[in-house]
C-alpha cells in the first residue's frame, strides 16, 4: 500500500550518469564560490570543506562516492547539492542538476545500499539514491586515519 505514487526527485548528472535524490532530502543547490579547504586524512571522494553563507559544509564527490569515476571538473564548474535536516553540513558535488520530476523505482534495491532503485525518465535509466545511505557512506570518508 506504499509508494504506489511517484515521488518528486531532484535530478542530476554525475560521472556521466543520471541520479536522483528525493526532493524533500535536498535543502538547496549551490554553485561553489570560494576555494575549498582540504580536509585532513579524508577519503578519496572528499573534495574539501566549503563556506556556505558563513556555515562550513563538507563536500563529497558523488561520482567517486558511488564509484562511477569522479568529476573532472574545472574550478568553478559543477554544483553542490546540500542535503537537508540533520545532514545540512554535507554537500554532494555533481556535474549538473537538470531538473525536478516525479519518479518511481521500476526496480528496488535491498536496503542499506546507496542505490534505492532504478527509475526511468525520458526513456532512459536514472539511479534513485537513498539520502540516508549516501550520508552514511559519506561520513565513512571522514576521520579515517
Amino acid at each position: 500500500m506504499t509508494g504506489v505514487d511517484p515521488v518528486r526527485h531532484v535530478l542530476f548528472r554525475a560521472g556521466g550518469e543520471r541520479f536522483a535524490l528525493p526532493l524533500d532530502s535536498v535543502r538547496e543547490v549551490v554553485i561553489p564560490q570560494s576555494p575549498f579547504a582540504r580536509v585532513p586524512r579524508a577519503g578519496a571522494a572528499v573534495r574539501g570543506a566549503m563556506n556556505l553563507r558563513g556555515r562550513v559544509v563538507a563536500v563529497v564527490d558523488l561520482a567517486a562516492l558511488v564509484g562511477v569515476g569522479s568529476e573532472t571538473l574545472q574550478a568553478g564548474r559543477g554544483q553542490v547539492v546540500i542535503l537537508d535536516r540533520d545532514r545540512r553540513s554535507l554537500g554532494l558535488l555533481v556535474a549538473q542538476v537538470f531538473g525536478v520530476g516525479p519518479l518511481r523505482p521500476d526496480r528496488e534495491e535491498p536496503p542499506g545500499s546507496m542505490v534505492r532503485g532504478i527509475g526511468q525518465i525520458d526513456g532512459g535509466a536514472i539511479t534513485l539514491l537513498d539520502p540516508d545511505a549516501v550520508a552514511a557512506h559519506s561520513a565513512a570518508q571522514f576521520g579515517q586515519g
Binding site: Q33, S34, P35, F36, A37, R38, V39, P40, R41, A42, A49, M50, N51, R53, G54, R55, V56, V57, A58, D86, R87, R88, S89, L90, A135, S138, A139, Q141, F142, G143, G145
Partner: protein, 653 residues
C-alpha cells in the same frame, strides 16, 4: 509473543507508548519544579495520569499483560494524588520512576516480539505503595470505564455561565504532512467549533491558497470551554507536531464600582514576544558573519584606491561597520537561552544512575535562569550530562562507605551557574571521595602521556588536570581510584572549542569540583594562522607557547623524533603536514616550528609559514567534519575560505 494479528501494529504501539512513558517520566521531574512552587501541581499530575492511562489502554489492546499490570497500578497511584491534590511523596516518586523504567524496557522488548512479564517484586511494591497512601485500605484503582483524562477541572466547573476564556493557540503541523495548509485549515475549523476565532495567522484565505509559513498556525480563540476541552479538540487532529494552548491572563469585567473609574485592563505583557526557530537565529548569525567579512573585504580593497577618494570610502565603511556591529550585538542577544534547558533534566539523570548503581543522591540546581548563547548551550548538553554521570558513578561513594567516613548517607551533587562579567561559571560539585593525584600521575606515565620526571614535578593541583588527557581517565582502575570516569578529555575539548576553560579541584575524601568557565556568546578568539602547502590552519593562541625557526634535519633525535631545545627543555618536533596527511612545500631549508600545548606535554609543530594572528569566530564542526580527529572547530577567513582550528592533543602521531 505478540499475536499474529496484532503484529503489524507493534511499531505504532512501541513508538506511542515509549513517547507516553517518556512524558510520564518528564512529568515526575517537573514535579520537583512544582515542589518549589514554580509550576502548578495539578496539571502535571493530571497529565501523568493520562499518560499512564493511555499506556494501560494501549498495552491492553496489544495483549501485553505485563505492561498493562504495571501501568494499571501506576495509574491507580497517580489517581490518588490527582483526586486529593496532595503533593507526591518521595517514595511514590521513586515507585513511579521504577515503574516507568520497567515499562520502558518491557515496551522495547515487546518491540522485539516478546511479551515480557511484570517483575513480581515491582508489582508488590506498587501494590504496597497504593495501599500505603490509602492509609492501609485496599488499593482502589480507578474504574476502567471512567473517561477521567478529560474531565473538566474543578476550576473550570466554577466558571460562571457566559464568562469567556481567551486562549492563544499555536500549532505546528508535522513535517511528514504532505498538505500542511489543509491541516492548518482543519485546525482553524475545529477551533471555530469551540468558540470564536478572533485572529488567525495565517488567515483562512491564506491557508486556502496553500500558504502556511513554517507550517505553523497561530490563533486567538474566545471560548467558554475549559483548557482541557480545547486541548482535547486539538488532540483529535492528526499530523500535528506540537500544540501550545495558553490561557491568557483572565481579567473578567471588573465590578461596577471599579468599572466606573477604571478602564478594562489590557492583558499584562512584558514586551511583546514571538517565537523564532533556532535555525532562523543561526541563519541570522551566519548572515551577520557574512556582513562582517564583506565589510572587512571592502576595507581591504579600499586600501588600493587613490588617496583622494579614500576618506569618503573609509567613512562609509566605518558607518557600515558600526551598523553591522550593532546588528551583531542584537542578534547575539536574541540567541541567549536560559541554562534551564540543559539543567532541568540533570536531576533525573543523576537519580536514575544513582538508583542503578545502588547509591543515593540529592541534586541541587542553581542559577538555571542564567542565559548563554544557544550554540554554546547545544554544545554543552553532552559534557554536562557526562560530568553529572561521572560524579554519581565515580565520585560519590555508596551509602555504607559514606556513613563509615562520617558523611550523610545521601550524596550531594550541586550544579550551579553564576555570571562573572562576560563569563558564565558553571560548577559541578560533589561531596564524594575526591580524586587521587598520585593515581593520575601513575596512569599518565603508564599511558606514555608524560614522563615520570615531569609527572613528579607536577603539583597535586596540576596533577589533577591529567584526568583530562586523552586515555588517562579511561585507564583501568584509575576510574575508581581517581573518582573520575571516562571522557574527561572529551568534556575539556568541547568546553575549549566553544572558547571556555575547564578546571578541576578536588580534595581526597571530601569531593570534587569541576568548573567550566564559559563565554556568554559565541567566542571571538585569537588564533595563530599557519600555512602547510596550500592549506591554512589555525591554532588557538591560548594553546601556543611560542615559535622558533629550526633546521629540523640538524636537530638531535630521540626515538626518531627531532628534539627542539626550547625554554630550557627539549620539545619533540612533528611535521604538521605528516600529522594531517597534507602536502608541504618542497625543499629542505629551516622550518618554522610552533610550540604548542599538547596538554601536559609541549609539542613542536613544523609548518611552512606563520601567517600571523587573527580574531576569529569559531564555529563547531557539523557532521561529518566532526568525525575528523585533530580538529576542534572551524572559522571563515576574510576571503571566504574555511580554516580548520587544530585540536593539538588529538593530532596524534
Amino acid at each position: 509473543m505478540v499475536s499474529q494479528d496484532l503484529q503489524r501494529y507493534l511499531g505504532l504501539f512501541v513508538s506511542e507508548s515509549t513517547d507516553k512513558l517518556q512524558k510520564l517520566g518528564q512529568g515526575l521531574v517537573r514535579l520537583e519544579a512544582a515542589g518549589r512552587g514554580e509550576e502548578p501541581l495539578a496539571p502535571i499530575v493530571d497529565e501523568m495520569f493520562r499518560h499512564a492511562h493511555s499506556v494501560k489502554g494501549m498495552s491492553a489492546s496489544m495483549e501485553l499483560e505485563g505492561i498493562k499490570e504495571i501501568a494499571h497500578r501506576a495509574e491507580g497511584l497517580l489517581d490518588h494524588f490527582r483526586k486529593t491534590g496532595d503533593a507526591l511523596d518521595p517514595a511514590s516518586v521513586d515507585l513511579l520512576l521504577a515503574a516507568v523504567d520497567a515499562m520502558t524496557g518491557m515496551v522495547e522488548r515487546s518491540g522485539a516480539g516478546e511479551n515480557p512479564a511484570a517483575p513480581a517484586e515491582l508489582l508488590s511494591r506498587l501494590d504496597a505503595g497504593v495501599a500505603r497512601i490509602h492509609g492501609g485500605a485496599a488499593p482502589a484503582p480507578p474504574r476502567p470505564e471512567t473517561p477521567a483524562p478529560h474531565r473538566p477541572t474543578p476550576a473550570a466547573e466554577q466558571v460562571p455561565l457566559g464568562l469567556r476564556r481567551r486562549y492563544t493557540i499555536e500549532v505546528e503541523v508535522a513535517g511528514t504532512c504532505p498538505v500542511p495548509a489543509v491541516r492548518g485549515f482543519l485546525v482553524l475549523k475545529k477551533l471555530s467549533a469551540l468558540g470564536a476565532v478572533l485572529e488567525a495567522t495565517p488567515a483562512a484565505e491564506d491557508l486556502r491558497a496553500g500558504r502556511i509559513p513554517d507550517r505553523r498556525v497561530k490563533a486567538l480563540l474566545e471560548s467558554g470551554e475549559p483548557p482541557a476541552a480545547v486541548e482535547k479538540a486539538l488532540s483529535q487532529i492528526s499530523d500535528i507536531a506540537t500544540v501550545q494552548v495558553k490561557e491568557e491572563v483572565h481579567h473578567p469585567t471588573p465590578p461596577p464600582a471599579v468599572a466606573a473609574t477604571a478602564q478594562p485592563r489590557e492583558p499584562e505583557v512584558g514586551g511583546r514576544t514571538v517565537r523564532v526557530r533556532v535555525e532562523l537565529l543561526d541563519s541570522f548569525l551566519d548572515a551577520v558573519g557574512e556582513l562582517i567579512l564583506a565589510t572587512a573585504r571592502i576595507r581591504e580593497v579600499g586600501k588600493s584606491i587613490p588617496e583622494a577618494v579614500r576618506p569618503a570610502l573609509d567613512e562609509g565603511v566605518d558607518r557600515l561597520q558600526s551598523a553591522v556591529k550593532d546588528l551583531h550585538d542584537k542578534v547575539m542577544t536574541a540567541r541567549m537561552t536560559p541554562l534551564a534547558l540543559l539543567t532541568d533534566r540533570l536531576p533525573r539523570v543523576a537519580r536514575d544512575l544513582a538508583r542503578r548503581v545502588g547509591k543515593q543522591v540529592e541534586v541541587e540546581v542553581e542559577g538555571a535562569e542564567i542565559e548563554i548563547d544557544r550554540a554554546i548551550l547545544d554544545e554543552l548538553a553532552d559534557p554536562l550530562t557526562h560530568l553529572v554521570r561521572n560524579a554519581v558513578d565515580h565520585g560519590l561513594e555508596p551509602s555504607h562507605l559514606r556513613e563509615l567516613s562520617g558523611k550523610p548517607a545521601t550524596g550531594r551533587l550541586s550544579v550551579s551557574a553564576r555570571r562573572e562579567r562576560d563569563r558564565v561559571i558553571l560548577d559541578v560539585v560533589d561531596d564524594g571521595r575526591g580524586m587521587d593525584p598520585e593515581a593520575l600521575r601513575q596512569a599518565a606515565v603508564a599511558r606514555g602521556a608524560i614522563s615520570a620526571a615531569a609527572a613528579a614535578a607536577l603539583s597535586d593541583r596540576d596533577a589533577l588536570q591529567l584526568a583530562c588527557l586523552p586515555g588517562v581517565s579511561t585507564a583501568d582502575r584509575v576510574t575508581d581510584i581517581s573518582g573520575r570516569g571516562v571522557g574527561m578529555d572529551a568534556v575539556k575539548r568541547v568546553v575549549e572549542a566553544v572558547g571556555g576553560a575547564l578546571e578541576l579541584v578536588s580534595v581526597r575524601g571530601h569531593g570534587t569540583r569541576v568548573s567550566l568557565r564559559l563565554p556568554l556568546t559565541v567566542a571571538v578568539q585569537p588564533v595563530l594562522l599557519v600555512r602547510v602547502g596550500e592549506e591554512v590552519l589555525g591554532l588557538p593562541i591560548a594553546k601556543v607557547h611560542g615559535a622558533a625557526q629550526a633546521d629540523t634535519g640538524a636537530l638531535e633525535r630521540s626515538r626518531g623524533e627531532p628534539m627542539l631545545p626550547y625554554d630550557g627543555g627539549l620539545v619533540p618536533v612533528r611535521e604538521l603536514s605528516a600529522l594531517l596527511g597534507l602536502p608541504r612545500d618542497a625543499g629542505s631549508g629551516p622550518r618554522q616550528v610552533v610550540v604548542a600545548d599538547g596538554d601536559g606535554a609541549r609539542v613542536g609543530l613544523a609548518v611552512d609559514a606563520l601567517l600571523g594572528q587573527e580574531e576569529a569566530v569559531l564555529k563547531p564542526l557539523g557532521r561529518p567534519l566532526d568525525l575528523v580527529s585533530g580538529l576542534s572547530a572551524v572559522t571563515v577567513l576574510g576571503n571566504g575560505r574555511p580554516v580548520f582550528i587544530l585540536d593539538v592533543p588529538r593530532l596524534g602521531p
